[in-house]
């Protein structure tokens, strides 16, 4: 069996363009799925039972059925409602729906992991609910949520290849089209694999960065060092950036 990886170079521009589609598809549907997931999570922990049950049903359905099914369903069902959806927007909708369900559960677990006393202390000084969520609960939940959230993001990046089945020309479909005409499956698949690996490695990097950003006790340490260094300039020490 002879392999010829030099053939890959001819297709780098095409593959990169397809990787762009993969990125846009994933980032777009994850963004929508994150915002929707946040509100779903708030509904899931709300004191209104109707809301809790409605969200539970949503998660039950969209987490309990395959994304592949959502893809076909939305792609084929849309015309029944008089809308013709292009493959790409259909894929964005399908992935967003599923991402919202997963992110709802991830964010909910983070919200519930924040100690009740944290909220009570905020209520005690008279903060209103939206401010308690924004200033007290979310910053603390974020830290807990980052690892599972980013894992899910990485999974979603790879699962975006499913969109190939409804003809979205993302990385996987593009690779298939190339090796169907060149008969160089191993070489092209290797190239596609490398590109996926680069994408997911970037996400891992972002995860590390976010984990570092939210490690406030580390921030505290560096602040301590700063304070010792600045002991001689007490006038501009404290709280000016608070």
């Amino acid at each position: 069996m002879d392999l010829d990886f030099s053939i890959v170079w001819n297709y780098v521009p095409v593959l990169l363009k397809a990787a762009g589609v993969t990125i846009i598809l994933t980032v777009l549907s994850q963004s929508i799925g994150t915002v929707a997931g946040l509100f779903l999570a708030l509904g899931r922990v709300s004191r209104f039972k109707v809301l809790r049950v409605a969200v539970w049903m949503y998660v039950w359905i969209f987490r309990g059925t395959p994304v592949l099914l959502h893809l076909f369903f939305i792609y084929y069902a849309a015309p029944l409602f008089g809308v013709t959806l292009e493959a790409f927007p259909a894929a964005v909708i399908a992935f967003s729906l599923s991402s919202a369900a997963y992110n709802c559960e991830i964010i909910r677990s983070g919200l519930q992991a924040v100690h009740r006393g944290q909220v009570e202390a905020a209520q005690a000084i008279g903060l209103t609910y939206p401010k308690i969520i924004r200033r007290i609960v979310l910053p603390q939940a974020m830290r807990i949520v980052i690892p599972p959230y980013m894992s899910n993001f990485i999974t979603a990046t790879k699962n975006s290849s499913l969109a190939s089945v409804i003809t979205v020309q993302e990385l996987m479909l593009t690779a298939q089209l190339i090796y169907n005409s060149t008969y160089r499956a191993i070489e092209i698949l290797t190239a596609a694999g490398v590109i996926y690996l680069i994408l997911t490695t970037c996400l891992t990097g972002i995860q590390l960065y976010l984990e570092h950003r939210t490690a406030w006790e580390l921030r505290g340490l560096s602040a301590g060092k700063r304070r010792r260094l600045e002991l001689n300039a007490p006038g501009k020490r404290m709280g000016d950036q608070a």
């Binding site: 202390a121 000084i125 008279g126 910053p139 939210t214 505290g220 340490l221 602040a223 301590g224 000016d240």
Partner: protein, 257 residues
Amino acid sequence: MTASAMIEALDVHKRFGNVTALNGVSLSVARGQVVCIIGPSGSGKSTLLRCMHFLDEPTQGVIRLDGKRVGYLERDNKSPRRMRGSQLAAIRAQIGMVFQLFYLWPHMTAFENVILGLRDVRGLPRAEALRLGREFMHKVDLDDKLEAYPEHLSGGQRQRVAIARALAMQPKVMLFDEPTSALDPELVGEVLRVIEKIASEGITMVIATHEMSFARKVADVVVFMDQGQIVETGSPVGIFDAPQSERLQRFLDKVSA
């Protein structure tokens, strides 16, 4: 109840499922008065304070702050209506609460903990909030810890930050829920000294505590609770030196032993 009461509880009951935590408690605290609540664990001290702040909603009974009902809007000729979130928040801002376990927000510095309410609740301009924040951190002797995160503070320092955070809201009443019970013995003193200093400034305070000598020193009125009821109320001298009820005598024997 007296018209000049700063905070009062009227026939407050609190049940959790079939457990009765408060069984008809009435307490009236006059402006500037310091009331210490003593009593065995599970006697309802904490629950009473939490009801006064509406963190636990009384099953029955009324809480009033400076004459105004907490948690409900009173309407002429109509039954009271539950407050909306923002209305409840507005009245809560006037009641300071210090918790046994501090509950500082760990993602903020000590100073940020103190000024959050000044900015986000009282809506003070930045410069004013920073000035007040420094003032109250000074009041609890933590000028040098403004930028420290709670993680790097001792228990006593954390509780003092929590006191500054509550005090900075300039509330009408300060409630302390066993403020030193979670502290190492050697850190209790610094927190009690701060509370004593605040008490001397004429703020109305209700303190649930196990520190008997502190209660004797700082209280105008001492309340003894047991099994969800107020058993005895009196001056520190009356309560500690001439207890009337048998239950109080037994309790005092136990804590002094």
